[in-house]
Amino acid sequence: MTPGKRFDLIVVGAGPGGYKACLRAVQLGMKVACVEKDPLPGGVCLNVGCIPSKALLDSSEYYQQMRTGFAEHGILADSVKLNLQAMMARKERVVEGLGENVRKLMESAGVECIRGAARLRGGNSIEVRSPASGSKSPAAAILEAGGILLATGSEPIPLPVLPYDGMKVVDSTGALNFQTVPEHLVIVGGGAIGLELGSVWKRLGARVTVVEMMPVITAGLDGQVSRTLERILTKQGFTFHLSAMVAGAALSPGGVRVSIRQNGREEAIECDRLLIAVGRRPFTRGLGVESVGVELDSRTGHVLVDTRYRTSVPTIYAVGDLIAGPALAHKASAEGVAAVECMAGISSEVNYDAIPSIVYTSPEAASVGWTEERLKERGIHYRAGICPLSGTARARCMGETDGFVKVIAHAGTDRLLGAHIIAARASDMISECVLAMELNAPSEAIARAVHGHPTFSEAVREAAAAVRKRSGHTA
């Protein structure tokens, strides 16, 4: 067999983990190829995840505001109409624009972008199968490299009782592309994806019911944040079935009939669309990881890596949703960069203590670090300071007074351990807390830093100032 093209590094997957890794590798002087099965780079995040959902969340928020929110400001609109096709088209433009940006960025950096599905042949070699349709390039090409970085991401977990059909039973991708507003959308899973897509369709007029297995929504977030968010969303018209299991589901003439079991009782819910958002699993199918000896976690399917992101095959690296940790685009990007730096011998790592996570509901929920629940569980001495947004001038001006900021610091050293925010602008407010944690700063540092007035961020400062006014909590 004739050896194929040689590179220093082949990155498999052009999502947030993969493309950031490519760009960093080029900066470090490597000759890089990037293999991507989809036409546009950007991965799930850009094509069918963070970006299109945020485009729809913003559009639907405007619609919602115009229908009900603006009146309070004295803005009256007689008839507000929804053009869903236009809204979807705009979403597509946003996605395509950003995708094009990434593609240009990679190409101008000198990354060789190769379209096709990759399969590992060994520690230094992959086979790329290009999409068959009329392509002149050979159906399969062999690429070789000193190192291979796997960044193939994850895919939605299906419901065992009812497979996706792309129409009535959909995953998050399907729920971004409804051609009409559902009448009744049932969402299995009360996590970020379910709540965000639920918010979109709720605002556009759907009835939305969320079925969640855990007793709270957004499990893992600070309890107070979860409870507050649930209250606010309920006020917005969401119906929640918590501690509820999907016992069965079947297609019915009207759509889907979902039977749920809650508190020992079974209940049937009729809906025209069912969104399954119970989580994501690492996407390794067809990659041939087992055949070359890359070890997986048998329980979760994650690729096992060491602190340098090397798999059990020393020339194969892996980052992002493929490996353990939260399935977040920014975590993948950070790992992609760190992995490439480790390859180049630069001591690099990702600070997993300070990775923010955000739910883009309205208001938004953003969080970083330890929650009070987990600190109590571990018996760690901490203090928490809270500032409700109702006291924040800017929030009142905007009429966005729902929510609060909670800052948690160690009782002894005052080192910031976590921050939890519900606010219209929580996604941007969390950054200063992430920075403070990155710097091992005490909560006093936030409290003493001068914050612009009037801003939402003042609530972060107030919460930090409240930390030291309160007595220490112990488990």
């Binding site: 060994g122 070789e144 000193g146 000896g293 976690d297 090397r310 353990a324 001591s347």
Partner: protein, 463 residues
């Protein structure tokens, strides 16, 4: 090509330095100009950068004392970037024109025949065990990220006690910090909050000589590659600033003076009798107990006045006489030896001296000693007797020219007027700089102290 990494010249007088930190790890690929390691001398800290691109091989570990010009590592100049991606495993010395990156060392590379990139020897027969990864295993979550690893090494923590919250349960730097904050309790918290109060009370201390004897001069000077030796429990940590300073000062005194010690013994019966007799009245009036230190300071001042060279110091070709009497008292504190100075001790009464000593002890205990408290002494007294020392040879507190060593008081049979009697006796030692003080003066100086302490009325009469 191999490039040796040497410790550069840092100054004329500097012969060796401490390899304070490797910025890069063994097996890392480094680029020309990347900082590789830092060396510390008593005066400067210096970063040393790579002279070329290449893979770093570390020969000397952090914390070792290295001679100027010695080789601490090697740069294997890499032919190409592909080289970088070689597994960091056992170093195989195969140099090929085409730097085909490493052979997968996985224990189950199932179809090796189909791997086109593999050249030559497929499975290296068990590689030399000096590599840090003898055979690649499952990537373990027990492995620490570099930042956490550094912290764990620095603090000497048992990682198995830390619960990991990182991906897959891996321990993060934050987990280590929390562990420290929680497990060390209040003490560690305070230290982290600002190095304010080390616990423990100070005590008047013995001759600083013991500090030198205990300093691991030999042990610290590990050089050369890691020597194979059985696994004995050894802990290595950098010296604290104060310990470094003490070490430096004492060595300097040993090397730069012509130090000599003369001895005598003192019958303490009259001082002891006076102390017992006036103890209550003294305590009532001044709030401190009458100690023996005040007698010795007073006696020393009588002698210093008589022998001004002992209160002087050498500066270049000059003798600097001090027409004042600032007496340093060596105190062993938790963090190391300190010598607070009682200023113008000649103008102070017994009670004032005792109070000054008590105040210093309190200040040291709370770590409030200021630089001005320890500067400017002209003569030093050290009392190893509080620890039970029978005899010692104190080291000069340079640039001072004399130091008096007190020791424990012991009932001993002595001959007085032809009779054997039991007396509370103390050996005293005077170490002096022979460059400035002749033996005759030193002996007479110590004898004058003896006379004053044995007959305290001489102190009053200054004879």
């Amino acid at each position: 090509m191999q490039i040796q990494i040497r410790v550069p010249e840092v100054g004329e007088s500097v012969q060796e330095a401490v390899l304070a930190e490797w910025y890069r790890r063994d097996g890392d690929f480094v680029r020309k100009g990347d900082p590789l390691f830092a060396i510390e001398t008593d005066k400067v800290t210096l970063e040393v950068s790579a002279e070329a691109d290449g893979v770093l091989k570390i020969l000397i570990r952090e914390g070792a004392t290295v001679a100027i010009g010695s080789v601490v590592g090697i740069l294997e100049a890499a032919a190409e970037m592909g080289e970088v991606l070689k597994p960091h495993g056992p170093a195989r010395e195969e140099r090929e024109a085409e730097p085909v990156a490493g052979t997968p060392e996985s224990t189950r590379a199932s179809d090796p025949g189909k791997l086109p990139a593999i050249s030559g020897e497929e499975a290296p027969e068990s590689p030399p065990a000096l590599g840090k990864e003898p055979g690649r295993e499952r990537p373990s979550v027990r492995e620490l990220p570099p930042s956490a690893e550094r912290l764990v090494a620095e603090k000497g923590i048992d990682v198995s006690k830390i619960l990991g919250t990182g991906p897959g349960g891996r321990v993060t730097r934050g987990d280590v910090l929390l562990f420290l904050e929680e497990s060390a309790g209040a003490e560690a918290m305070e230290r982290m909050a600002g190095e304010r109060r080390p616990p423990g009370r100070p005590a008047l201390q013995e001759a600083p000589e013991e500090a030198l004897a205990g300093s691991p001069k030999g042990a610290g000077a590990v050089s050369g590659a890691e020597v194979h030796r059985p696994q004995e429990a050894v802990r290595r940590q950098p010296m604290s600033r104060i310990r470094l300073r003490i070490a430096e000062r004492l060595l300097e005194a040993r090397q730069n003076t012509a130090m000599l010690t003369t001895f005598n013994e003192i019958d303490m019966s009259r001082v002891q009798a006076a102390r017992i007799r006036f103890k209550e009245a003294f305590l009532k009036k001044y709030g401190v107990s009458p100690g023996i230190m005040s007698f010795f300071i007073k006696a020393a001042i009588v002698a210093l006045k008589e022998f001004p060279e002992v209160n002087a110091s050498i500066d270049g070709r000059d003798i600097v006489y001090h027409d004042y009497y600032h007496i340093g008292i060596a105190v062993g504190a938790e963090r190391g030896l300190v010598v607070p100075v009682i200023r113008h001790a000649d103008r102070l009464g017994f009670a004032e001296i005792e109070k000054a000593i008590k105040d210093f002890a309190a200040k040291i205990g709370r770590n409030l000693l200021e630089l001005s408290d320890i500067e400017g002494g002209t003569f030093t007294i050290t009392n190893g007797g509080v620890y039970g020392s029978l005899m010692s040879t104190p080291i000069l507190n340079t640039p001072q020219s004399g130091i008096l060593g007190m020791h424990k008081i012991e009932d001993r049979p002595v001959a007085v007027d032809g009779q054997i009697v039991i007396r509370p006796m103390m050996y005293v030692a005077l170490s002096y700089d022979h460059r400035l003080i002749d033996g005759r003066e030193a002996v007479k100086f110590l004898k004058r102290i003896k006379e004053c302490v044995e007959n305290p009325e001489r102190i009053v009469m200054e004879i």
